[in-house]
Amino acid sequence: MLFAAKGITKRFGGLTAVKDVDFTLEGGIAAIIGPNGAGKTTLFNVFTGLYTPDGGEVKLDEHSLIGLRPDEITALGVCRTFQNIRLFKAMTAIENVLVGMHARVELGLWDVLARGPRFRAVEGEAWRTARTLLERVGLGRQLHTEARHLPYGDQRRLELARALASKPRLLLLDEPTAGMTGSEARQLMGLLRGFVADSGLGIVLIEHNMRVVMEVSDRVTVLDHGEKIAEGTPREVQTNARVIEAYLGRRGAHSAAP
């Protein structure tokens, strides 16, 4: 099992944001869906160490992630993007990606100060990799543009490239297609499929665009009020009565009646 979370519970004061949720991923692309406030982002924050859960266990390859700091979790191979895009705004696109590699840089203070051949080799390699990554997500022409000057869709792609730079085994994407046009979203999903095929990377999406979810996901998990109410293939979930009632209800009925 690549990634397994068991019995995750997270409370904020009297509010239980996530209640006893299990989630596993062996590979491929999984989606987490649910109405606003269902606890999806909270779950991501627990997975990446931003929150410590009040109960439950999170494991990457049988290695427990509970109690680790976010940077340690990233170093182990779980990286993420944010719902409300959190780029390093005053830094250029390529610098953003280079920061993403931080956990993989094996240089000490002395290497930096001495600037010997080892430093130049590692740094040169990092810049080449960063450039390749940016070209792959379609930002090859904006390498030196400050992140804040990029259009919205490009910022999302840059955040994806930055997360990929840490060479994750599991990538958590929080609404990656928000603000994108239909064709942009489809392009992005093609890209994600490519990364999964190339590197055996596991991806978990939080997504509101149902077309994207249904097209791209191998498995879908549905949360409502912090609880998991359904899980399965996109088709199974689409026909699940509880899901239709809680979330897909009107839209599901709507699209089912052309």
Binding site: E72, E95, M101, A103, V112, E123
Partner: protein
């Protein structure tokens, strides 16, 4: 605008740079007491830095100005050499603070504490004062000074880590308040650690502090200038290297968004402590040099206003910009030591000469109206004006400047 264009044309800029150097050099030689002549010389150095020309030529011209002309100017008027040395000391401080505030975005209002730590480390052991603590055998021989440059570095870096540890969870205003407190604590300690064991000799300060042995029979002022220049060069190189590495990028990432930085694998604790330690170590080194140069130090040299002064240098020059920090240090120091003082002297001369302006005899002017006393107010005004018209500072960090050029080019293609 026209001036900027001249600077961009090498064919004009290169001869003009040389001419400026020669003219300003001649001016200082002919009028060794003229503040304007020396300011012209400084302007020539700035012009060379900004003008378009091949890198080797720029380096050569700067070397001529700083290594040859400046010491000669010092022979004409040793006070100018003193100013240049002070500029160097504050440039190193500004560069250190630039790491903490400019790159890592950790607002430190007590930075001068590290300067104090470095200064006291040599002051105590490089003067007979240490006999009061250890009984005898002091002061250490002047040669120990060179070892203490590294001791000052290490002790200040340690102080940086000690300050960093408790404030790791704080940022913004809260961090600023705690660092301000830390700066005051160090000053108050220096003021009061004369009992029960006399470490710092309290407000009376420590003197005489040993000066390092001077090679080649150089005059001490010249030697001190070269030493400070060398240290500033080393600090600039170290700064550059840190900035253009994963460490510098991690600092900037923390400044931009520390949650995202940590999520991308930047260990916040280690990166912040490193920023505090690096910034502090530069101040520590300069503290040792400062103590030896002044021969006498007391807590008055390390007040809160000094911290603010260094911060003003960083902001004036441009946050996160190495040339900016150096320029900021120059402007603030020269304004302090030369321009305002010069104005005061000039006003005094007018007073003594009994000049009457618009029927008002200047001799009646109250002494409170002396420009030198308006130092802080004038800085305040300059900072306010800067924040309104040029918030990025005089020489903003490279990237931002490149960005501005790019948009300017885009603009051109659009209008064409």
């Amino acid at each position: 605008m026209r001036g900027a264009r001249v600077i961009r044309r090498p064919l004009v800029a290169i001869p003009l740079s040389v001419l400026l150097l020669i003219v300003s050099g001649a001016a200082v030689a002919s009028f060794p007491r003229s503040v304007l002549a020396f300011l012209l010389f400084q302007g020539a150095i700035l012009f060379i830095y900004l003008a378009a020309m091949p890198g080797y030529l720029r380096a050569a011209l700067l070397a001529v100005a700083l290594l040859v002309m400046m010491p000669i100017i010092g022979a004409y008027n040793v006070y100018y050499l003193e100013i240049a040395t002070q500029v160097g000391i504050f440039a190193a401080l500004a560069l250190g603070l630039n790491i903490v505030v400019g790159l890592a975005g950790l607002l430190d209002l007590g930075y001068v504490a590290f300067f104090a730590v470095g200064a006291y480390s040599w002051a105590i052991f490089g003067s007979p004062h240490a006999n009061q603590i250890f009984g005898g055998g002091f002061p250490l021989a002047p040669g120990w000074f060179y070892l203490f440059i590294f001791v000052g570095l290490a002790v200040a870096a340690l102080a940086g880590v000690l300050l960093g540890l408790p404030v790791l969870r704080l940022h913004g205003d809260y961090l600023a308040i705690v660092t301000l407190g830390f700066g005051e604590v160090i000053r108050v300690l220096a003021n009061n650690l004369d009992k029960p064991i006399n470490f710092t000799n309290g407000p009376k300060g420590i003197t005489p502090i040993n000066r390092p042995p001077v090679p080649f029979g150089l005059p001490y002022a010249e030697y001190s200038y070269f030493l400070v220049l060398l240290i500033v060069l080393v600090v600039i190189v170290v700064n550059r290297r840190l900035e253009d590495s994963h460490i510098g990028r991690a600092w900037e990432a923390i400044r931009e968004d520390q949650v995202a930085a940590q999520a991308m694998g930047v260990p916040l604790v280690r990166a912040k402590l490193l920023a505090f330690a690096c910034g502090a170590s530069f101040a520590g080194v300069m503290g040792v040099v400062f103590a030896a140069k002044q021969v006498f130090i007391n807590p008055e040299s390390f007040t809160f206003l000094e911290s603010i002064g260094v911060l003003a240098m960083v902001i004036l020059g441009g946050m996160g910009s190495i040339p900016g920090a150096v320029l900021g240090a120059t402007i603030v120091t020269v304004l302090n030591l030369q321009v305002l003082k010069g104005l005061s002297l000039w006003l005094n001369e007018l007073k003594n000469a009994g000049v009457v302006i618009l029927g008002y005899p200047l001799a009646d002017l109250p002494t409170q109206l002396e420009p030198a006393k308006y130092e802080r107010m004038i800085f305040g005004v300059i900072l306010v004006v800067m924040m309104i018209f040029r918030p990025q500072g005089f020489l903003p960090a490279r990237r931002r400047q490149r960005e501005i050029e790019v948009t300017a080019e885009e603009h051109k293609t659009v209008t064409v």
